[in-house]
Subunit: 129 residues, 2 copies
């Protein structure tokens, strides 16, 4: 993986905002891709189980910084999505990491309930093989 | 997350091929998105560490089924990519799961070396906060 990618449409120098309670590193550029999104892996910080994959845009990242809970961009609804808003199964953010080419996030959380809308702990419950 | 998504361009009913050594479930539809790709999370099956995120197309999935090692589609090089081909740090596949809306994969592996081209075990070594 290199920093040059045809699929990346925008490089954003993401600046710290004063209200930020999470000490976001202002030097890190996030390489938002198609639609201004990056994929984010959500992992349970206690069990290390991978819970879900969702997409983050600048606005959802700002909401995460403000609230300390996970927010995503719903591609199906084309709307900002506070995880657990209706189910109550919010996720408290423990840490956020970015990968070596700055186009994917890993969010470690303490989940307040199942991640999946089916009631499963993780969205990855179907074996492909 | 629902099965209806504007970002999904293709639904593929992925059929078992006779040479398949991994007993791929032919009933599962993979919802390949933009560019015929789905994101795949690679996790160490022993340590549960999330190692990397990469993209899979039909051809790379077939190569995984054939060889039992990870293959991806490199978006920067626009080429099929056998992980570890040059570094020797291949990843033996233990399991593949698909998420509830069938547009992301979780691949558990036994890595033969660091996942990251920087020499780090995981590509997610930079804290964002």
């Amino acid at each position: 993986m290199t920093r040059a990618s045809g699929a990346v449409s925008e490089i954003v120098d993401y600046h710290l905002v004063p209200r930020n309670p999470m000490n976001f590193d202002p030097a890190i550029e996030i390489r938002f891709g198609s639609g201004g999104l990056v994929p984010a892996i959500v992992q349970d910080s206690a069990t290390a189980k991978v819970l879900m994959l969702a997409y983050v845009n600048r606005e959802s990242l700002e909401k995460m910084m403000e609230t300390g809970e996970t927010w995503f961009w719903s591609r199906s609804r084309q709307a900002l999505w506070h995880k657990g808003e209706t189910s109550g199964n919010t996720q408290r953010i423990v840490s956020i990491s970015i990968d070596c080419d700055s186009d994917a996030l890993l969010i470690e959380v303490e989940p307040r309930g199942p991640a999946c809308h089916t009631g499963q702990t993780s969205c990855f419950f179907q074996p492909l093989k």
